[in-house]
Subunit: 340 residues, 4 copies
């Protein structure tokens, strides 16, 4: 890796934060291969800072879940593949928060799963974040033992501008990515998005110190982040739904309702992707994925639900995914981290 790294910085002021995917002018335009050092605010816009800051009181709808971006990638055209490799995701503060939120969560009446119950009580949990030890501290509100949890920083929200001129609230996941809320979006992961508009228009936000699969109560350990990504472009081959790659796994996502349709979308994509990479017939790929695949929930709380279909690359003899861009971006990341 002898080429000089292109490194740029993106630290939006509060009034530069955006709350949707689509319809916005780029905040930054970069060449493929550029390293972007960026900051993201937490999903509450930093307004929830203690257990008395109830989100329904200190936040103003729809100014929730701000994203940093969009970042336009030079040369990206509809049909292309925008690749984003997460080099580093690090909490900015020594605290983070989580909450219940009225009409939001998997085990409560919501605006869609509408019931006659009063909302569950709105509570805030403040986590102490120890970046040195790599932990965040869960402190129950009504007594009982505290628990130290390992940090596993990730971004709940990452995606590109949708097609058909649509503008989606940043809270919504879909074919464009968005608020997928899967813990798989951590440092070391490359994401592939199908480009729908010139420049692709990447945005990222909603950092989590960690998150369980499903994000059951509706919020994770929410934190502002200092994040480093490499943004790249593969001409053509834009996937219909976001795909992820790590050193060990390929992953497809589906973000729709009901949850079995999210499962179907993700599995359908993984099966056809596996067939394409190996040369197997689709039914053979269906068989292999059935025996070797993993299927963790992403979120079961957002306006669309997200399922992940996951397959170890060692079970996929054949061509590398997306022309091997993951490996190239790993090298870029290593070069960047080496010189930092």
């Amino acid at each position: 890796m002898t080429a000089a790294l292109e490194v740029v910085s993106l630290e939006p002021a509060p009034d530069q934060l955006r709350y949707s995917f689509g319809g916005a002018e780029p905040l930054l335009t970069v060449a493929p291969g550029t390293v972007v050092e960026l900051t993201t605010e937490d999903c509450f816009g930093g307004a929830v800072r203690g257990v008395d800051d109830l989100p329904s009181q200190v936040c103003v709808f729809p100014y929730l879940n701000p994203v940093t971006g969009p970042i336009a990638v030079e040369g990206a055209e509809p049909g292309d593949t925008l690749a984003v490799h997460l080099v580093d995701v690090a909490p900015v503060r020594d605290w983070a928060v989580s909450t219940t939120f009225p009409h939001f969560g998997a085990l409560t009446t919501t605006h869609q799963t509408a019931m006659l119950h009063a909302p569950l009580e709105e509570l805030v949990w403040l986590y102490e974040v120890d970046r040195e030890r790599g932990t965040c501290l869960f402190r129950p509100r009504r007594g009982g033992p505290e628990v130290e949890l390992p940090l596993d920083p990730m971004h709940g929200t990452i995606g590109v501008a949708p097609g058909a001129g649509e503008v989606h609230a940043s809270i919504t996941p879909g074919a464009h990515g968005g608020n997928m809320d899967t813990p798989e979006v951590r440092a070391g992961t490359t994401l592939y998005f199908g480009v729908n508009v010139p420049g692709g228009q990447l945005s990222i936000g909603d950092g989590h110190c960690r998150q369980g699969e499903g994000e059951v109560c509706g919020t994770a350990v929410e934190a502002a982040m200092r994040t480093v990504v490499v943004v790249d472009l593969v001409k053509g081959g834009g996937p219909a739904w976001p795909r992820l790659e790590t050193d060990e796994f390929l992953m497809s996502t589906g973000s729709v309702r009901p949850l079995e349709d999210a499962f179907r979308v993700s599995q359908h994509d993984l099966v056809t992707w596996a067939a394409e990479l190996t040369g197997w017939d689709v039914l053979d790929a269906y068989q292999l994925v059935s025996q070797a695949g993993l299927a963790p929930a992403g979120n079961v709380v957002d306006t669309n639900y997200t399922m992940v279909a996951k397959l170890a690359k060692r079970y996929l003899p054949g061509a590398p995914a997306a022309d091997g861009v993951h490996e190239r971006l790993r090298e870029t990341a290593a070069a960047y981290l080496g010189q930092r």
Copy 2:
């Protein structure tokens, strides 16, 4: 562990196999703490032995998915907890099979997700099982690379007699267990079932050399098994839905449709279970599970779908689950394996 181990054997003849949960006389009655060495036939009753044995031709509905049992446990009464620890699960033959099956699977029209398409092609895959090396060989039907997969033997079907006098086909998972088809049911796992009828009436079948999460195509690497379990009884405390415990994890299950309700059932059970073990308020347990839980799909193909909610025991300071029966059964298993 000085008490003599009670070890009994259960190898049902073909005409002793059962195809449902509930409504049957026990094939065996044991005292709590007994080790049972048993055999199970594969889900096709052993009738699919090569790629030309199409299930729709060689199997006769409803004689699918045979189970071994029921095993009555002395003293088990409605409201109690029947505990089953899997000591060993080993494929009997040097081959196993998987298939597509008309109107069955997640990516095909089914009797419930009814569509106007003709069924997908019915295909059989024959796996070579190498018990010494611990592998099974995937051989694609239409060319392309073969893949060696590690054995990870499990039972798709395990459960007790349902309540309310119901009799469920062995293909159906539910509150009684049954065909949950989660790979978590492997050696080393203890399962807890709520007892609905005297004796509990445990049955087990549907061995898989391995299975992906979701069992996408509808069948796993299906195999006859030689399996060893320890059966035990905890008075009272019968869970509403099957629970699992390993050395590392507690798990709750939910088996209903749609998939988000299976998710809700499993998470609701895990949250309330965690609250009970730690003394946390339910909302505090909801918070902790949201940040630390895992949520893999079990099956998304059977008459009910199964989700698993999974939490590392290290995040649950407090009382052991089910009075520590898992640890006791681990000791029994070690004693049995030591003397085998």
Copy 3:
């Protein structure tokens, strides 16, 4: 109509009531074409008689939703069509009841759609039934105007023994019928069930003075009934899911979850049925049903949800359904009513 009518009576004693479909000896065996005068108890077994009789206190699970039967039909074999025409459905008492019920209903947390809310308040509504004027009186519990509603008596639960040796609680609807809870099951309607076991084994219960589509709160205006049916047999042609016919409409049902799958099952059945009766290609029938069909909800509260697909017979030129048995049974009904 010169043949003598065969008329028999079936008034089960309380200890003869059943709570499931399948697994029971017939209470009555009749020849095809027999008129049966029968009584049914209400879904609470008559135990809720006033606003202070909370079901959760006066009823004992699983002794809910009793059915009268089974009635075996001579000559009925698996694969045949059991036809039941409702001649008359009349409330027995001058009162009826409805309730909320903990963990039951469409707008409340349930055992499947599990949430952390406390149950909605359990309330009983007592309706005055005026059989002469054909009304039942809704009296709100917390003040406000009373409303007189027209009687539209129906049975929520009607079906045959399931196949595969299964026994389903009477609360569950499915391919065997059962607790479909659609207001279409009223006098003048003929139902067709596929026979799964010798004799078919018809049971009927859960009378409603009237019910809205969806049965939103989980219970209708529940009443004991005096009901007259004609039971008949068509050799062969047993439908996969219950079908209904009136003078004006053909109807298919689907009883599964999620609700869109119940919709799919019912529409798939109606489309293929329409194609069969008219000679249209299936895609042509799909088109016609898309433009001319109705799709009311049956129930969205029971263990399976029920959708009805409904098409006016005037849009279906071709052969009569089920060999014209509806018309014949209408004649039998007229003869019976004429001589009563």
Copy 4:
């Protein structure tokens, strides 16, 4: 009715048609109470004119389902109620079309309910429209009897700009209205929308000569329309989801997935609306709606599914809905029709 009627005309040129809700400048601005005579193109933009015009060939995604508008209403502010009364809906041409469409419809694999099947065959049906006799003629493509169906003209798509800066494709129904595809949107109906942006921004399109409930195959008898509406404004009281009123019924809608959530949304809205109009407690309204409500499917094919909850006004003693605006608009309509 002595006030002079304000009548304006809106006949957009092809390049003025829009394909989304939100984000557009108004094509017309009117005072409350104005009668608007407008034209709409069919969902294929008029490009499918015969059985050989396959939509996938003659249409260009995303230029599907054009709408006429937006129409801004003077004085409409977020939180207000925009009322639209349909005075007349009349097909423009003497033909109309319907089609299957790859990956669209309730009984086929779709992009969300993703399966491995090839799409169903794409077919076009051409209907002869006889406006004098009030019929459209169904002609099967593969032989068999033709059927004459009564005209029952309606609009599949009608709504306002969504909130939160979102822009939704016109194919999507939701809280803003949009592509609800319920046959209840016919002449004589008043619709109420919550206003999200200044002016409300009403758009209308997707005329159907008739449509079955559920729109099973994905398209209705699609036609360009000449439509007359009265647009009005009620300050405040904007409903969360679109509501409808006719002389006989009040209706609530829900447009989400899965279908049971669409049912829940619509029933929840109807129950709380009924409570508000009558002064009943919410649980009393829940009870009444459970016994007297209707629940027809709108569509079960679009990106969100639509259910309608429907209650006869005669069962709702109390205040008129939306301050009686329906009655006033009926008078305006009568005045308009009297002078036309």
